[in-house]
Structure formats: structure tokens, C-alpha cells
């Protein structure tokens, strides 16, 4: 009797959060999976069971492969760079230097800005002819550039904006982690004869591993999730050169109104993210020292 009461209490306490998680995460995920096995309803044609037809379409879809490869390059290009920059900035602003508070704030500013605003700022840099970059290169007599308008550089332009935005965010995590390292550890290493680089390599960096794991999981998820800036900067073009998986899903679902195919793409995205997150935990787990 007593036990039953406890169970009821526990479930009642869990219920509100559980309902919201179900309603907004798990039910949509399962609905998406279900929808991916049906055709999109059009006009007088209701949707009908399609089995794996949507997945066949997906494998045969060159745009899907294009955006997937784009996304892989996007991840490879942004994740390590933004993590390294974040770490360097954190180590830098963790030192005693004049105006430290200002520098910390300056590095964190991009994180506070909405992605749309960030993209607009960078539009001002990238605009051919009178953008900041062209104005500076123009001083040296160089020709105009059109970074976002050319298919071989558009993705790089988008990646730079992402790195600029993400590094400050990750820096905050590294900064917090750096401040939990007792100063006496660094002093002990100095007494033992270690130089700054050895201290970083053998003491500081290993102690930051839990943070690195956390940050890199976040970075991977973000690289498949952040698309706001693409709307402003390139609209996925030219010729899908800067389109990413999620942006393509948006286009398929809300421009082409092919919701079933969009659901199929979403399932693939979910599978990729789950595999990456699990893989990272297993890969890093052996190398991470948790307190």
C-alpha cells in the first residue's frame, strides 16, 4: 500500500515534464518516422502507404548527397577550428591582463547576438564591391571578391560566420573549467620544471577533457542544426553549394511541400546525430578524466 502510494507520487511528480517531452519530442519523432513510410497527400490524392519508396528516392536524390557532403565539410571545417579558437581565447582571458573583463565580454558578444543578426553583420563584410572585406582589399588594389556568390567559396564563407559565432560560446565553458583547476597544480608543475607548453599539454588540457567532450558533442549537434544564417547569407546557393541537410529539409517541407520526403530526410538526420553522439561518448570516454 505504502509502496503504491510512493509510486503514484513519483509518477505524478514526473508527469508534467514527461507530458511536454512526449508532446514535443518523442511523439513528433515517431510521427516523422511513420510519415516517412507514406506519400505526401496532394489535392484529391490522399496519402497512401509507400513502404521504403521515399528512402529509394532519397538514395537516388543528387541534392541529398550534395547537402550531406556539404554538411560533413561544414562540420569538419567548423568544429575543430571553433574548439581550438575557444580554448586559446579561454586560456588567454584566464590570465591576469589589463582589461580582462572587457576582452571576455568582447569574445562572448557573438554568442549573445541572434544568428540572424550575426548573418546580417557578416553580409556587410562580404558584400561584393562595398563590403568591408572588399574595401580593405581594394586599398591594396585587389580585385572585387564575391565569396558568397561563388559555388567554390560560398560554404567557406558560411563556415567562417559559424566559427565566429560559436567560438565565444565554447570559450565560456572552457573558461569556467579553467577556473576550477587549482592554481597549486600549475605551481607544482612549474616547480617540477615544466614550461608553459608542457603544463598545458600534460596538466591543463587533460583536466579540460570533460569540457572538450561536452563542447564537441554540442558542436556536432550545432553543425547539423544551425541554418538561420544560410537564409540570410546565401539561401543555400549558388546551386546548393552552401545548403546543409537541415536547410534542405526546410526547403523540401515548406517550399516544395513534399512533407513525406522531408520526414524521410529528418529520420536520416536523427540517425546521423544519434550515431555521432553515441560514438563520441564511447570514443572520448576512455580518454576523459572525470573528478
Amino acid at each position: 500500500m505504502q509502496r503504491t502510494r510512493q509510486w503514484i507520487h513519483a509518477w505524478l511528480l514526473l508527469l508534467p515534464a514527461f507530458v511536454f517531452l512526449l508532446a514535443f519530442t518523442h511523439v513528433p519523432a515517431i510521427t516523422t518516422l511513420w510519415n516517412s513510410f507514406w506519400t505526401t497527400a496532394r489535392g484529391r490524392r490522399p496519402s497512401r502507404w509507400a513502404g521504403l519508396d521515399n528512402y529509394d528516392t532519397l538514395i537516388a536524390d543528387p541534392v541529398f548527397w550534395k547537402v550531406l557532403v556539404n554538411n560533413i565539410w561544414f562540420a569538419i571545417g567548423t568544429i575543430p577550428t571553433s574548439i581550438v579558437i575557444a580554448l586559446v581565447m579561454a586560456v588567454w582571458v584566464n590570465q591576469k591582463l589589463a582589461g580582462r573583463g572587457f576582452v571576455r565580454m568582447a569574445y562572448f558578444t557573438p554568442t549573445v547576438l541572434p544568428m540572424i543578426a550575426v548573418a546580417n553583420i557578416w553580409m556587410f563584410f562580404y558584400t561584393p564591391g562595398f563590403g568591408l572585406i572588399d574595401q580593405i582589399t581594394g586599398l591594396f588594389g585587389m580585385a572585387q571578391s564575391n565569396i558568397l556568390g561563388q559555388s567554390d567559396t560560398a560554404l567557406v564563407g558560411v563556415m567562417i560566420v559559424t566559427i565566429w559565432k560559436e567560438a565565444g560560446f565554447f570559450m565560456i565553458f572552457y573558461l569556467a573549467a579553467l577556473q576550477t583547476i587549482p592554481p597549486s597544480l600549475i605551481e607544482a608543475a612549474r616547480i617540477e620544471g615544466a614550461g608553459p607548453w608542457t603544463i598545458f599539454r600534460r596538466v591543463t588540457f587533460p583536466l579540460l577533457m570533460p569540457t572538450t567532450l561536452f563542447v564537441s558533442v554540442n558542436a556536432v549537434v550545432n553543425s547539423f542544426r544551425m541554418v538561420d544564417h544560410i537564409f540570410i547569407l546565401t539561401g543555400g546557393g549558388p546551386d546548393n553549394a552552401s545548403s546543409l541537410l537541415l536547410f534542405y529539409i526546410y526547403e523540401v517541407a515548406f517550399r516544395f511541400w513534399d512533407t513525406a520526403y522531408a520526414a524521410t530526410l529528418t529520420v536520416v538526420l536523427l540517425a546521423i546525430l544519434a550515431a555521432l553522439a553515441i560514438g563520441q561518448f564511447f570514443f572520448f570516454d576512455r580518454k576523459v578524466h572525470y573528478k
Partner: protein
């Protein structure tokens, strides 16, 4: 084995803005000796140690190790080792990796490194724990790992900053003996910072007593106990602390001429004597087992006396004491120093003298 090197501080000052931590320290730490820097918290003892280590810059003055001026050198260049209050073990490294950290940094050959590790592990009884992480060790074992890391590189100077303050009383006694043994066996120069007079007295060859950024006295533990140089030294060493009395406490024994002095008498040297010259009234008594601590009133000044055995006294009772002349310390209030005044001492010692 490198023999220990001496350490010299010459007029070392250390200030952070307005806050002055060291007010011109001159100190000679002898080679191969165990020197304890003792003082209350905030007296500058840890700062002195960090200045020697090179973890703090000096504001002015010079630091020498051996014959070499190391004032501008980094901690690594000073060739010393240090044990921190928190042990400062690297939590992500095993015990073995912690101990050989410095040897690895110095790129010592693997074989030699392992030989040194085995030797130190044997010496400190750490052999079964070499693969563990520090978090899986007890406080005493962590302490031993920190000691191991300090002695494995055989540097001539070892600094310790209150290394025993995180241990329980029983373990502290044990480690005290162990550290002393280690220092004597290996012959390095030890500078040991503590606020605990027992540690300083039992372990050190030389005690440096500090107060408010200045050195009060440098002497052997015996000398500090027998002849404290200042009223502060007199009160800091010995439990319960020495009685410091104004001349008026001795009533008719002293006259106006002895104004401006303080007379120090340790509670344990006051012996009851019916013909003693020094009288005081009992206020209360505490039985401590081997002896009795009596609180008295000597002409208005509070006085503590430690009487042997279970001497039952009643409040209001008058006790008379005699004190051997060698147990009476006279301090000049104005100069804050010790006075040699045999005539004054003789009058207090009274009939016995």
C-alpha cells in the same frame, strides 16, 4: 645525492599595493638543515616560502640559493622541490606518473626513471598503489605521493607549505617523524612552513619565528624556549603561553624604577614555596590529569600556573611561589626586546636567590 644548499634572503620586501606582506626580511637558512618558519596566519611565512620558490616576485631585495643569486629566476631554474598544503597532485595521472612528472619533464632516461621511482616508492611504502589515481588514496597516502614527487628528483632544497594540516592528529604525528627521517636520510635543505609550534619544535634544527611580516627570532627550538628574544616569541612558543606581567604584579618586590618592562614567567616553572617571594590569589583551577592548571590574580594581573599532580586549591587561597632566576625573562616594552637585568631578576626570585 646532491648535498643541501643554503638559502639567503637579503632585505626582502613583498607588497601588493598597499598591503605589505614582508617588511624587509634578512634570513640565513643553513645547508642540509631542517628550518621551520613558524608564525600565526598572515605573518608572511607562506609568502616567504613562495618567494624562495620563485612563485612570487620580490618587491625589493635578493634571494640566494647556494652562492647563486636566483632573484630573477623562474621556479624551474631554481632547482628545488615543493610540497603544497593541498598536495597539488595531478588528479588525471596515476601515482607513478605523479611521482616521475618532473623526471619526465627533464627527459630522464626511462630506465633510470623507473629505478628512481621504484626506490622512492619503496622508501615511502607506495609500491602497491603506483597504478592508482590520487582520488583513490587516503589523505596520508596522498601526502606520501606528494613527498615522493618532492624527493624523487633529488634536488638540494625542499620546501613544504603546511603539509600536515589536512591530516588527522594521529597521522600527523606519524608523518612528522617520517618527514624528519626522510630529510635526515637524504640530507637536503628543508624549509618547512607551519603555524603549529609542536611541528616546528619537534622537527626543526632551526626555527624562524615570524610576526606581521617580520622575523621575531631565529634560533634552535631550545633557545627560543629558554631565551625568547621578544614578548611575541615568549607567548608563541610553549603551552600554555608564558605569563607576561607588568611590574605591578609583583607588588612590593619591584619599585618605580622597573617601569617600562614586562616580566615573563612560564606557567610550568612556577613552583609552590611557602617562603617564596611572589604571592598570588587563586581564582580557579582546572585538573588536567598529570598536573593542575591554576588561574591566579597577582595584584590585579592574571597569572597562570601549572602545578604538578592533583594539587587541590580553593578560590581565594593565597599561594606563594619561587622562581629560579634563569626562568625569569625581562622584556623592554619600548624596544620590544629582551633585557638582561640580574638585579631585577634577583628581587623577583626573592629569598631563594
Amino acid at each position: 645525492m646532491d648535498q643541501g644548499k643554503s638559502i639567503t634572503l637579503q632585505n626582502v620586501r613583498k607588497a601588493w599595493g598597499e598591503t605589505v606582506s614582508l617588511r624587509g626580511i634578512d634570513l640565513e637558512i643553513l645547508a642540509g638543515q631542517f628550518t621551520a618558519i613558524l608564525g600565526p596566519s598572515g605573518c608572511g611565512k607562506s609568502t616567504s616560502l613562495r618567494v624562495i620558490a620563485g612563485l612570487e616576485d620580490v618587491t625589493s631585495g635578493r634571494v640566494l640559493i647556494g652562492d647563486q643569486d636566483v632573484t630573477a629566476m623562474s621556479p624551474a631554474q631554481r632547482n628545488l622541490s615543493m610540497v603544497f598544503q593541498s598536495y597539488a597532485l595531478f588528479p588525471h595521472l596515476s601515482v607513478a606518473e605523479n611521482i616521475v612528472f618532473g623526471l619526465k619533464v627533464a627527459r630522464m632516461q626511462r630506465q633510470e626513471r623507473l629505478a628512481r621511482l621504484a626506490e622512492v616508492a619503496e622508501l615511502l611504502e607506495l609500491t602497491p598503489y603506483l597504478d592508482r589515481k590520487p582520488a583513490a588514496l587516503s589523505g596520508g597516502q596522498q601526502q606520501r605521493v606528494a613527498l615522493g614527487r618532492a624527493v624523487v628528483s633529488r634536488r638540494p632544497v625542499c620546501l613544504m607549505d603546511e603539509p600536515l594540516s589536512n591530516l588527522d592528529a594521529r597521522l600527523r604525528d606519524e608523518m612528522r617523524r617520517e618527514i624528519r627521517k626522510l630529510q635526515q636520510a637524504l640530507g637536503f635543505t628543508m624549509v618547512y612552513v607551519t603555524h603549529d609550534q609542536t611541528e616546528a619544535i619537534t622537527m626543526a634544527d632551526q626555527v624562524v619565528l615570524m610576526n606581521q611580516g617580520q622575523i621575531e627570532q631565529v634560533a634552535t627550538p631550545q633557545q627560543i624556549y629558554a631565551a625568547p628574544a621578544t614578548p611575541f616569541a615568549a607567548r608563541f612558543i610553549g603551552t600554555p603561553p608564558m605569563n607576561l606581567l607588568p611590574p605591578s604584579a609583583f607588588g612590593a618586590l619591584l619599585d618605580k624604577r622597573s617601569e617600562g618592562v614586562q616580566i615573563g614567567v612560564r606557567p610550568e616553572v612556577l613552583s609552590e614555596d611557602r617562603h617564596g617571594a611572589f604571592a598570588a590569589t587563586v581564582r580557579s583551577a582546572e585538573f588536567l590529569g598529570a598536573d593542575t592548571l591554576v588561574e591566579l590574580d597577582a595584584n590585579g594581573a592574571p597569572l597562570l600556573a601549572k602545578l604538578a599532580g592533583n594539587r587541590s586549591v580553593l578560590p581565594g587561597e593565597e599561594l606563594r611561589f619561587s622562581v629560579a632566576p634563569s626562568d625569569i625573562h625581562v622584556f623592554d616594552v619600548a624596544s620590544n626586546g629582551r633585557l638582561d637585568d640580574p638585579a631585577l631578576v634577583a628581587r623577583i626570585a626573592g629569598a631563594q636567590a
